[in-house]
């Protein structure tokens, strides 16, 4: 292949990426979400620099039990005397890790199922859609509960439980997009040029669904984080890893709610809302870039 051809293709991709960014930057809420996300990720990555294992240990805690915010403990202490601020900052690590990993798993499954069922008609599509609709309808949380009770406790179980129960909506979305693309005459043109299944799936369908998948992943991270905290709250998380859901479970279990210890209850919850909202804002901004039809309505 001549270098000229490669240059044209790369120039086109660079232009497309530039346009994606410019369109995204048009959305103020999207930029706010992105900035917040970058900040939170940075804090999560750097947390071990000033928070040691001792700070998180129940035995080596230095503070009093359930003390309100003070100069020493800005957000007060928990039932074991640990700093709520430290716990909240450290909890971001598990939430982000599980959220992102589960979202990637879920969107990955959904994309493959959606593309295959959209591309191959007849029984392949019928079977895949039957399965998709079945899982779409089921209460994902109940399924995830069953799955995580039956597997060994740990982050990987949580990731798996969320990932394999939340893919159907992505599959439907990708399938719909695949069908739209495949109905376009340029697919027929590609067939008439002699292109087979791999050519059509990889050269035409995949690039066309990719932006949608990206937007979908961003949105999926948000709901995966909520699922993670819910599972942890129900007692299905990894009890040895600090997470926001676990903090809230312990708050309820140790009677902090009835004791009115708002400083123990608010920070993890607000942290979840902040992260999920940031992902959602980013995802929606991306969605509008990907699907300009939405623009009219969502500004």
């Amino acid at each position: 292949m001549s270098t000229g051809a490669g240059r044209i293709a790369w120039a086109r991709r660079r232009r497309a990426a530039g346009k994606l960014w410019r369109d995204f930057a048009d959305s103020r809420s999207g930029l706010v979400g992105l900035a917040a996300l970058l900040g939170i990720v940075l804090i999560a990555l750097l947390a071990p620099l000033w928070i040691s294992a001792d700070d998180l240990s129940v035995i080596k805690a230095t503070g009093g039990i359930l003390t309100p915010p003070s100069g020493e403990f800005w957000l007060g202490t928990d039932h074991a005397g640990r700093s709520v601020l430290d716990l909240t900052v450290y909890g971001a690590r598990v939430s982000l890790l599980v959220g992102i990993a589960a979202a990637v798993l879920s969107v990955g499954i959904g994309t493959i199922v959606g593309m295959l069922s959209g591309h191959f008609g007849r029984w392949v599509s019928a079977v895949l859609m039957r399965v998709t609709d079945f899982f779409l309808v089921l209460p994902a949380l109940v399924l995830a509960i069953a799955l995580s009770t039956m597997l060994e406790r740990g982050l990987s179980t949580i990731i798996l439980a969320i990932g394999v129960t939340s893919w159907p909506s992505t599959a439907r979305l990708v399938r719909a997009q695949t069908l739209t693309i495949e109905a376009r005459p340029y697919i027929e043109r590609a067939q008439a040029l002699g292109g087979g299944h791999p050519h059509i799936l990889l050269r035409h369908v995949l690039p066309a669904v990719l932006p949608l998948v990206l937007a979908n992943t961003t949105l999926a991270v948000g709901s995966a984080i909520i699922s993670e905290s819910t599972l942890a709250f129900l007692g299905l998380g990894d009890p040895s890893k600090v997470s926001w859901g676990l903090m809230l479970k312990q708050a309820l279990d140790t009677g902090s709610v009835t004791a009115g210890a708002w400083w123990y209850l608010l920070p993890p919850g607000i942290a979840i809302v902040a992260v999920v909202l940031s992902f959602t804002l980013c995802g929606r901004a991306l969605e509008i870039v990907v699907n300009p039809n939405l623009k009219a309505g969502r500004r």
Binding site: F134, L136, V137, L141, I145, G245, V257, N293, A296
Partner: protein, 349 residues
């Protein structure tokens, strides 16, 4: 030549053709109902298979490879293994499991030492009450606010409604419940903190009903808050999709007021996809109910599930999973059938 010109329009115009079309439609309805019910039965079977697979066939599952756990004794597990016939080959186990299910024999709970089937039957009522109340409230609120937001999109009302929904969408249900509990039940003491009735009971029918309603407020409002936000967004976007439709221009050209255009033409069209999506996601409502019941100790299936997790009470977990999933499947078949009555396009297809 004339006969040719009239036959170029594909829809039959002969009276016989009309009658034949009617017959095809009636046949189509029977077929549609049969297909939907058949699909529902297949889904129910899948739920049953899933229950079997998750609890008995999964490799590395604690019942298959006995492990010690805090509450479950090895003894109990051994008993369960014997009861479920875990030493037999899988196909034999499955047949036996199916037979048990058909006889509503879901095993004995570890924790409550009672038949799982009876436990579940006793808890269905409260769950129905909670989810029903929340669904109704969320539907009314979501559809109404969603319509208003879409019709005046870009307005301050729209921005407020959408913003609130986005925040509520990002809030974990259980946390919202905890906050509500702390503020309204503990700090302000306006509502009870737990349960469905006042311990000890109240005398008289009306006071008893009011007592339950008093207990219902916080859990139902929490569940509504999370669900209505989703319904609002769905309604808003499907109405926005309809807003550029040509038939709305036709309606305006006819001299209808803005309000008439919305009520008579735009909303009925937008409502159909919205209702489908809402019923397709009944599972979300059930998932929400599990956490809300946990927070408010509402004595429904969700709380039962939560209590089973801690133990872990495998027969009970299997039972609640099958019942909750099965209920959602049945709901969806019903929604599909109702939808057919509403949308003429589906009726003809």
């Amino acid at each position: 030549m004339v006969d040719m010109l009239t036959t170029t329009e594909p829809v039959a115009e002969l009276p016989g053709g009309e009658r034949a079309a009617g017959r095809v439609r009636a046949l189509g309805t029977a077929r549609f109902v049969a297909v939907k019910i058949g699909g529902g039965l297949v889904s129910l079977l899948l739920v049953v298979v899933l229950g079997f697979f998750l609890f008995r066939a999964l490799p590395g599952n604690p019942i298959r490879s006995i492990t010690t756990d805090s509450h479950t004794s090895i003894e109990q597990i051994e008993k369960l293994r014997a009861e479920w016939g875990m030493d037999e080959p899988l196909p034999g186990q499955f047949v036996e499991y199916l037979g048990d299910l058909l006889r509503w024999d879901l095993g004995t709970s570890f924790k409550y030492k009672q038949p799982v089937g009876d436990l579940i039957l006793g808890r269905i009522g409260p769950t129905l009450l909670l989810t029903g109340a929340a669904l109704l409230l969320a539907l009314v609120l979501g559809l109404w606010l969603g319509t208003r937001a879409a019709w005046r999109h870009g307005s301050r009302f729209d921005r407020l409604a959408t913003g609130t929904s986005l925040v509520l969408w990002s809030v974990p249900t259980f946390w919202l419940g905890l906050i509500a509990l702390m503020v309204f039940a503990v700090a302000l003491d306006l509502f009870p903190t737990a349960g469905m009735t006042t311990p000890g009971g109240v005398d008289g029918f009306l006071p008893a009903v009011l007592d339950v309603a008093h207990h219902l407020v916080l859990p139902a409002v929490t569940l509504t808050a999370v669900t209505y936000a989703q319904y609002l967004m769905v309604m808003r976007s499907s109405l926005l999709e309809e807003m550029n439709a040509d038939y709305l221009t036709t309606a305006r050209a006819k001299g209808l007021t803005d309000d008439q255009v919305r009520r008579r033409h735009a909303v009925p069209n937008a409502l159909l996809p919205t209702v489908t999506i809402i019923f397709l996601h009944t599972g979300l409502l059930v998932s929400g109910a599990v956490t809300v019941e946990t927070v408010f100790s509402w004595p429904g299936l969700g709380l039962l599930t939560y209590n089973a997790i801690g133990f872990p009470d495998y027969p009970l977990l299997q039972g609640t999973m099958i019942v909750l999933a099965g209920a959602v499947v049945v709901m969806n078949v019903l929604a599909d059938l109702v939808y057919r009555l509403l949308d003429p396009r589906v009726r003809a297809a």
